[in-house]
């Protein structure tokens, strides 16, 4: 059975022009029905549409903004900001020390939604004043709302519309939260490949840890914390669609020149304490300084494929011998 999220189906864009395309409600309902998702089809059937059967784009935007605002509560409760800062802090320190960034350091959140992560980092200032914080999302309504919220609090960050597969925003570190499970197969490979630009020192993408507990936990949590049935539906689907560690490591290897690693993979973390965990990619020369910066405990939770790590060690020792 295909697992679909309603929010992925109700907005469509021309990938070339990024122009919004009309979406027929009947098509959304038909796709969900064909996937055997009757409750999803019922929710979609209740969405407002015009006489021609096209979804009302303003109503869809309002609904998505409301759902994402509820979704932010989960990021707050699961202390996503702290979780990411625990890794980004040492990572940026290592990048600074290596002098491997050309120009100012930039952290770009891909698929930022309402930009909670970027705004939290801006509000807390944990990464330091020399870091530009940018959020990118394909959805114009979410980007507008993220920008409005940032201005309302005078936060030093910005938000732009952009496509994860054709990134206009260069970054020292690309990050994301809750985005990876939206992409599958070759799209997932392409997502990582798009980030292997010359200026990229690392990426760090957090998504739901694919454990047996995740769908049950997601059901309980979305039931308890979210009111909108669309948000509840998509939240549970997200957990069911979450990629396992192996899939992520394989896909992340498509980012040329960056060594793929999992932080807190299955078996090295308590599923009750780690509901989201990241797949990381770093330039090979940053790997051992990063391990040192993280310290012995956290560094032990950073696991790559044996062959990839061995290649990094060989390259490092060859480099050391030549020098």
């Amino acid at each position: 059975m295909q697992l679909l999220e309603i929010s992925d189906l109700v907005v469509d864009h021309d990938p070339g022009t990024r122009e919004r395309l009309p979406v027929r409600r009947g098509d959304v309902v038909a796709r969900l029905t064909a996937a055997g998702d009757r409750s999803g089809a019922r929710i979609a059937a209740g969405l407002a549409c015009d006489d021609a059967g096209h979804l009302d784009p303003l109503a869809v935007d309002r609904r998505l903004v409301a759902v994402h605002t509820e979704l932010q509560r989960l990021s707050e409760e699961l202390r996503l900001g702290d979780r990411i800062a625990e890794l980004l802090g040492p990572l940026l320190a290592v990048i600074r020390a290596a002098g491997s960034a050309d120009g100012p350091l930039r952290v770009v959140d891909v698929g930022c939604g309402l930009g909670y992560l970027v705004r939290w980092l801006a509000a807390s200032g944990v990464l330091g004043p020399d870091v530009d914080l940018v959020g990118v999302d394909f959805n114009a309504a979410l980007v507008r709302e993220a920008e409005r919220l940032a201005r309302a609090e005078g936060l030093p960050c910005r938000f732009v519309r952009g496509d994860a597969f054709a990134l206009d925003e260069p970054a020292t570190v690309y990050v994301s939260t809750g985005v990876l499970h939206h992409f599958r197969g070759s799209d997932l490979d392409a997502f990582f490949a798009a980030q292997a630009t010359r200026g990229t020192a690392a990426f760090c993408h957090f998504d739901i840890a694919a454990t047996g507990l995740a769908p049950i936990g997601a059901w309980v949590f979305h039931r308890a914390r979210m009111r909108d049935p669309l948000g509840r539906h998509d939240g549970v689907m997200s957990a069911r669609r979450a990629h396992d560690d192996d899939t992520l490591l394989t896909a992340a290897a498509h980012a040329d020149g960056l060594v793929p690693l999992m932080y807190e993979p299955r078996g090295r973390s308590n599923p009750f304490c780690t509901t989201l965990r990241p797949v990381i990619g770093v330039r090979p020369e940053l790997l051992s300084p990063l391990r040192a910066a993280l310290g012995p405990g956290p560094s032990g939770r950073l696991v790559g494929r044996a062959d990839a790590e061995a290649a990094v060690r060989r390259e490092a020792s060859a480099g050391g011998g030549a020098g």
Partner: protein, 167 residues
């Protein structure tokens, strides 16, 4: 004493219900002041319910032929209600302490196994307390029913009145 403890619990619960009615509606990062306002709104909505159940209890007390016996009966009912709520409240306090003061991994644990499921269980616990109070005591039934309905209505009422849309 039992009645006072229950009233205190109901007020704390109303403040939390107000807070919950607000959560998920404000996308800003710094919002302690607004969260406290929501908790006050919860209290404001919770107090009339509490007063109403108190009024029902007082009228039942003064309407009784034997006030001493009626008082003892209502007090015993309040005690049974409290026995239902105390363990729940203790687990909530423990989870909250872990969430607020623990490292973030402990915070996640507190949310995943504590606060999240506890929110789902809350209506059942409220009803269980009301049933326990009414068990074998007809006069306690209307008091506990009014109190339970009052407690359960705070969150939807605050949400509907102030937070129906994102703020």
């Amino acid at each position: 004493m039992n009645a006072f403890l229950l009233a205190a619990l109901a007020l704390v619960d109303a403040a939390f219900a107000g807070f919950r009615a607000y959560t998920g509606r404000d996308g800003r990062i710094r919002k302690t002041r607004r969260a406290l306002l929501a908790a006050r709104r919860g209290l404001a909505v919770g107090v009339p319910g509490l007063l109403l159940s108190t009024a029902v209890a007082v009228s039942l007390l003064f309407g009784a032929a034997d006030r001493v016996a009626r008082y003892a009966e209502l007090d015993a009912a309040a005690h049974r209600m409290l026995l239902c709520y105390a363990p729940y409240a203790a687990v909530v306090v423990l989870s909250l302490a872990c969430y607020l003061w623990g490292p973030f991994r402990a915070g996640t644990l507190a949310v995943v196994v504590g606060l999240g499921p506890l929110t789902l269980l809350r209506p059942l616990v409220v009803l269980a307390g009301a049933l326990a109070a009414a068990w074998g005591s007809l006069p306690a039934a209307p008091v506990s029913a009014v109190a339970a309905v009052g407690v359960l209505l705070v969150e939807p009422a605050v949400h509907r009145r102030w937070y129906a849309e994102p703020v």
